[in-house]
């Protein structure tokens, strides 16, 4: 495979385009509402109407407005059909010829779409994820070619540093710096791992990217591998995402066949293969050291760092580990240049961020906005506020490691620093909207239960501390707790945060701390006055340690 072959595929693919395209969402959300049947009916209707030569029905990835699925978009008509059923699908074809479509429509130029800026999701809902040609038609794999033939690994790292990209997996670590460290680590064998464990309950960005545009992730990984000197990659996907796994398998197979993965890529000396590893239902395996243990076939328990994976990671070799969305940004950065990327976003947070908007909000789905976009724009303008005109109470970001941002802070711009100042985190991109009917103590309990269930059990503060904090939260909810219990809870939060081994324990108190910070009154309303007397002060009886 050389550049000309790639360009030829691109030209062929573009030349084969038909006058009208009907893009039909085939991502997991819409598939659950029978988008497969819709697509079949559309294809049949096209055949019945004898329109095969002018109309293309294309299965694509997520078209973002998941709550209204199945979605079908007709172009160039610019008509977006929602909640399409296999019964009313044929009428969409009739509408192409001037008839009336029975399927409902929504405005594709509404704020939900117009306020988005797509880098990561640029191809989502546009390319057919099952066909590598579809990706190549939109300049796919050209960045990889350029990197391999015109840049040294050091150039590649420098470009990444200049782009200012920060990891999208949660912590926001500068990606260029990480690549540089792995590149410098001595070792004949190095690995690149894509973290697709997406454990935050309420986040589905990574799933959508994998289902909608798997090749962007593969290309990003290959570029990273060249930069750091790795020849083997792994994608660690959670087992709950069967469709993403199938799409990745297809994508890897096609990429190998075309020679954009494998040995001697683009006739250069660079070799790179990618294998999939399937998780088995453990949130903690999103933590990088636990993930590597899991890839090695072990119990997914984290280990202390240092040594960091960049020095000693998978099988003891230097390992680069990045999130799905981080990798999906990579090809665009090399296509358009570091300056272009650095020109988007805020001073310290560059580029865009994808959020999975869900909860008590009218428009649920995926949004990608420049860093620094105010929460209010996302929630009120794009999300359309809470359904039924209810009042939004808080927005939860960062999942079980994050916090709740109350409505009075809705003007906060979303970037790593601003969210951190409010005691939350950017996290991987889950954004759950809560309205007045949500009880914040219950939210804190919900997340504490999550962390308690997902604790790996290795270190004492997290294993036993989450149990006690959960006990205390239940006690508060049951109106059995006293002010002293609340103090105990806060003390435990502090202790677990500072002494746990890994990020799970270190951040498990965050939802509790943040709801305590902004909704303390909801806790206090549930407290009982301190009881006096020999028992009933909530304290366990004294433990005797000796005979």
């Amino acid at each position: 495979m050389i550049l000309n072959d790639l360009l030829q595929i691109k030209d062929q693919e573009r030349a084969a385009r038909k006058k009208t395209t009907l893009r039909c969402c085939m991502a997991a959300g819409c598939m659950s509402s029978d988008s497969k049947g819709v697509k079949e009916q559309l294809e049949k209707a096209v055949a019945d109407a004898g329109l095969q030569d002018t109309v293309e029905v294309r299965g694509v990835g997520c078209m973002k407005l998941c709550c209204e699925g199945p979605l079908v978009q007709a172009d160039p008509q610019n008509a977006l059909y929602i909640k399409v059923t296999s019964e009313n699908a044929p009428s969409i074809i009739a509408a192409l010829k001037g008839g009336k479509a029975e399927a409902a429509q929504t405005d594709p130029d509404a704020a939900f779409f117009k306020k988005q800026l797509s880098i990561v999701l640029a191809n989502s809902g546009v390319v057919d994820p099952d066909r590598i040609e579809s990706y190549i038609a939109l300049d796919g794999y050209q960045a990889l070619h350029e990197v391999l033939h015109e840049m040294t690994p050091k150039d590649v790292v420098d470009t990444m540093v200049n782009s200012g990209l920060r990891g999208r997996g949660g912590a926001g670590f500068p990606t260029g710096l990480k690549w540089g460290t792995v590149a410098k680590s001595p070792g004949a064998k190095k690995y690149v791992i894509c973290n697709a464990d997406e454990g935050d309950p309420g986040a589905f960005m990574d799933r959508s990217v994998l289902e909608s545009d798997p090749h962007a992730v593969l290309e990003g990984m290959a570029i990273a591998a060249y930069a750091v000197g790795a020849d083997q990659g792994f994608i660690y996907v959670r087992a709950e995402y069967p469709l993403a796994i199938t799409r990745l398998q297809t994508a890897i197979k096609q990429a190998k066949q075309l020679g954009v993965l494998g040995s001697g890529i683009f006739e250069s000396p660079f070799n790179f293969t990618i294998d999939i590893r399937i998780g088995a239902g453990a949130f903690v395996c999103g933590e990088e050291t636990a993930l590597m243990a899991s890839v090695e076939g072990k119990r997914g328990t984290p280990r202390p760092r240092p040594p960091f994976p960049a020095e000693s990671g998978l099988f003891g070799c230097p390992t680069l580990i990045n999130n799905v969305e981080t990798f999906a940004n990579v090809p665009a950065i090399y296509r358009n240049g570091a300056e272009w990327f650095a020109g988007i976003g805020t001073e310290k947070s560059k580029g865009t961020k994808v959020f999975a908007l869900a909860g008590k909000i009218k428009n649920t789905g995926l949004i990608e906005v420049p860093m620094g976009t105010p929460l209010r724009t996302i929630v009120e303008e794009m999300g359309g506020g809470a359904p039924g005109g209810a009042k939004i109470k808080a927005v939860q970001t960062g999942g079980p490691s994050g916090g709740c941002i109350p409505s009075q802070h809705l003007d906060t711009p979303v970037d790593y620093e601003s969210l951190g100042k409010l005691g939350s985190i950017m996290g991987s991109g889950g954004m759950i909207v809560m309205d007045e009917s949500t009880r914040m103590v219950d939210v804190a309990r919900f997340f504490m239960e999550f962390c308690m269930d997902e604790s790996c059990g290795k270190c004492i503060p997290c294993r036993a501390g989450t149990v006690q904090m959960h006990n205390l939260l239940e006690k508060i909810l049951d109106r059995r707790a006293t002010p002293r219990d609340l103090l105990k809870l806060e003390e435990l939060c502090d202790m677990v945060k500072n002494t746990s081994l890994c990020g799970l324990g270190q951040t498990a108190p965050n939802p509790t701390l943040s709801t305590l910070r902004f909704f303390r009154n909801e806790y206090e309303e549930l407290l009982q006055p301190e009881a006096h007397g020999p028992k009933g002060n909530g304290e366990a009886k004294k433990q005797t340690l000796t005979t």
Binding site: P304, C459, A464, Q468, M495, T499, L545
Partner: protein, 241 residues
């Protein structure tokens, strides 16, 4: 090997490159509390009792897995660390059923003496009172899960010193527990060589010699150390279970 100079609790000391903070402190006569650490097997940094403050590092780091560096300034006994240690111990006592008065290890238990030394005289958390069993099926040894603190010392000696791989951790979180083979009773285990190393390694009364009374339960650590050294010389297996 190059020597590093560092300060531990105000004492200027020097330590070999590659040594852990725990080793360096030990040599300087500074006692850092530990539970999951056991000389001779690799460290896991799990119990978090040995956490220390290192100037310039925002996070607390476990002394047992952190290597010394030139100019490190370390505090091992601040008010904050002592508080965290007490709380860690309280959490352990509340987690399972540690009834010291009727324990074979009473008086020889590392957990018990740590509680003493750290001034943990009562537990403020609700006891979980979980239902854990006692495994008395082995010919020579017994295991009382009620007293297990999941330090995995038994697992590590069984794998890396004895090389049997009988013991491991099953389940996760609060349901994590020590197993023999396929979670069968210890007596049924066909990989156990009956070497007794796990019993030697256990810091509490969770693993015990059958028929022993508290007085007999003084662990013969010297025997274990001898074995450890012997194996180390032969470059015994490394890595994780």
């Amino acid at each position: 090997m190059a020597a590093k100079t560092l300060t531990i609790d105000g004492k200027q000391i020097s330590a070999e490159e590659g040594a852990t903070v725990l080793q360096a402190a030990d040599e300087a006569g500074v006692k850092i509390p530990t539970l999951c650490h056991l000389d001779g097997v690799y460290d896991v940094g799990a119990c978090r009792l040995c956490l220390v403050e290192i100037a310039g590092v925002p996070k607390l780091l476990p002394a047992c897995t952190t290597q010394v560096a030139e100019g490190m300034v370390i505090h091992t006994d601040s008010e904050r660390l002592r508080k965290y240690r007490r709380m860690t111990l309280e959490l352990l006592f509340a987690e399972r059923n540690h009834v010291c008065a009727v324990c074979v290890a009473n008086g020889h238990c590392e957990l018990q003496s740590l509680a003493y030394n750290q001034g943990m005289d009562h537990v403020r958390y609700e006891y979980n009172f979980p239902k854990w069993s006692v495994d008395n099926t082995h010919r020579l040894f017994g295991m009382d899960h009620n007293r297990c603190i999941l330090c995995t010392r038994c697992v590590r000696v069984c794998w890396h010193i004895e090389g049997a791989g009988t013991k491991n951790v099953a389940g996760r979180g609060g349901k994590a527990h020590i197993i023999s083979d396929l979670n069968m009773s210890w007596g049924q285990s066909y990989s156990c060589t009956e070497c007794g190393k796990c019993v030697q390694a256990c810091p509490t009364g969770a693993l015990f010699h059958k028929g022993s009374t508290a007085a007999e339960m003084e662990r013969d650590r010297t025997r274990l150390e001898f074995l450890v050294t012997a194996r180390e010389k032969k470059q015994w297996i490394t890595g994780e279970e």
